[in-house]
């Protein structure tokens, strides 16, 4: 999916209205896209504003006991409890150290051996703790890497499923786009169903230079209508899901140009591929 496709999911994500599979795909993208993260935060602000629409003309109040219950729950909360205990333990440990130093002079041999044994056990525990911590960290890194791979695979699978669905639908049209003089080795197939859901599969297109992307155009009645932008991988292959505008469904020419990476409202760059050959 292209960046623009993810951008169109952000409003729904702010309302948590995406399906679980879409959320996974979007979250994978958000990890690497600061622009989308920042836009999502803006949409979340707007969505949070809706909370005010819930207020009654005379706002309702929770019962007065709720406040007391919350503060009581906080006091007995285990998370906080451990915070307090940690602090208290710190003081106690310091106190214990002071006492232990004073007592050293009066230790019996049995106590000394006991202390050495305890020291050794303690050291062994620390060492095994370290090993466990290291293993845990490695396992987490591996898990994160594998999750990334699974997400990529899921995304790819979803794209392929959609492509198959479009290609297999009744009434789907297939149009071939051939490379122009600018890129004679390029070739692409555009399949689109009756509703205009389209998938473009391109080959022989080198990855676009930095700041540039390929853009699909639908030309009907001599007027080019902008499609989405896409890029290609190192092997020169790229795919794109797009929507053919209604005006272009019955008769249209398709073309691909090189444009600035966010796409243009009208073509400005050279035509690399065209269905008119």
């Amino acid at each position: 999916m292209a960046h623009e496709d993810y951008k169109e999911m952000l409003e729904a994500q702010a309302l948590s209205a995406l399906d679980a599979a879409e959320v996974r795909v979007l979250e994978a993208h958000l990890q690497s896209c600061a622009e989308c993260r920042s836009q999502l935060s803006d949409w979340e602000d707007a969505a949070a504003g809706l909370a005010f629409a819930a207020l009654e003309a005379t706002p309702l109040e929770p019962s007065p006991q709720v406040r007391a219950r919350i503060l009581e729950a906080v006091r007995t909360d285990t998370t906080t409890g451990s915070r307090a205990i940690e602090a208290a333990d710190g003081h106690r440990l310091q106190a214990a150290n002071v006492v232990a130093l004073k007592q050293t002079l009066r230790w019996s041999p049995a106590q000394t051996w006991g202390a050495i044994a305890a020291g050794l056990i303690c050291a062994a525990l620390v060492a095994s703790l370290f090993v466990l911590w290291k293993q845990n960290r490695e396992a987490r890194q591996e898990l994160a890497r594998l999750s990334g791979q699974v997400r990529d695979a899921q995304e790819q699978l979803a794209r392929q499923r959609e492509a198959i669905e479009i290609v297999a639908a009744r009434g789907t049209r297939m149009t071939e786009l051939a490379g122009t003089k600018v890129m004679p080795g390029a070739h692409a197939m555009l399949a689109y169903d009756k509703k205009g859901r389209a998938i473009l599969m391109a080959k022989g297109l080198p990855p676009p230079p930095a700041g540039k992307a390929y853009q699909l155009w639908f030309i009907a009645g001599g007027r080019p209508m902008p499609g989405k932008v896409f890029t290609t991988d190192a092997s020169g292959a790229g795919t794109l899901n797009d929507q053919v505008p209604a005006e272009a469904l019955s008769a249209a020419v398709f073309a691909i140009t090189l444009e600035p990476k966010d796409g243009m409202p009208a073509p400005t760059g050279a035509i690399y591929l065209s269905s008119l050959t």
Partner: protein, 190 residues
Amino acid sequence: MQPKQAQPADVDLLHAVARGDELALGSLYDRYRVILFGLLMRILNSREEAEDVLQEVLLQVWRRAADFDEQRGRPFTWLVTLARSRAIDRLRLLGARRRLVDSAAQNTPEEASDAVKNTLHSEQREIVQRALAELPEEQRRILILAYFDGLTQSEIAATTGTPLGTVKTRMRSGMIKLRKLLGKEMNILG
């Protein structure tokens, strides 16, 4: 209306909560109990459930205040999102029956009377309700089904018998228009 300088105070309160300051949690509660409780009541339509979830939310704020990152969002949005998400979880737990009752009840929004214009949050309430009123009915309905009933786009399509593509377009247009309408007023909205 809240003064503009209330926002840094919210951030400070959350930092204090993260350090284990119970008084700061109490202050946050006092400041947001009405808006959060109103939201929870709207979603859950039950005082008992709403109070229970409100308590859960504040306990979660207590435990997770250290996770709040002011670079990534406003305290108000963080609190409201947390509360809404808890309430939707509870709603799903309670089952669809209650949701249907809710939807029926929600179709009759009340107008603010002059007598209560000065009550807490009345200005924000008016801004948001005015913005919602400006949306086309089909867009407003979709935003409400998503936000207050916790329905996904697919669920909205199935419930209303509208094609999924149309639901997506309407949701998007509705949000774009809502943000535009709220844009100037966002600083007042928490």
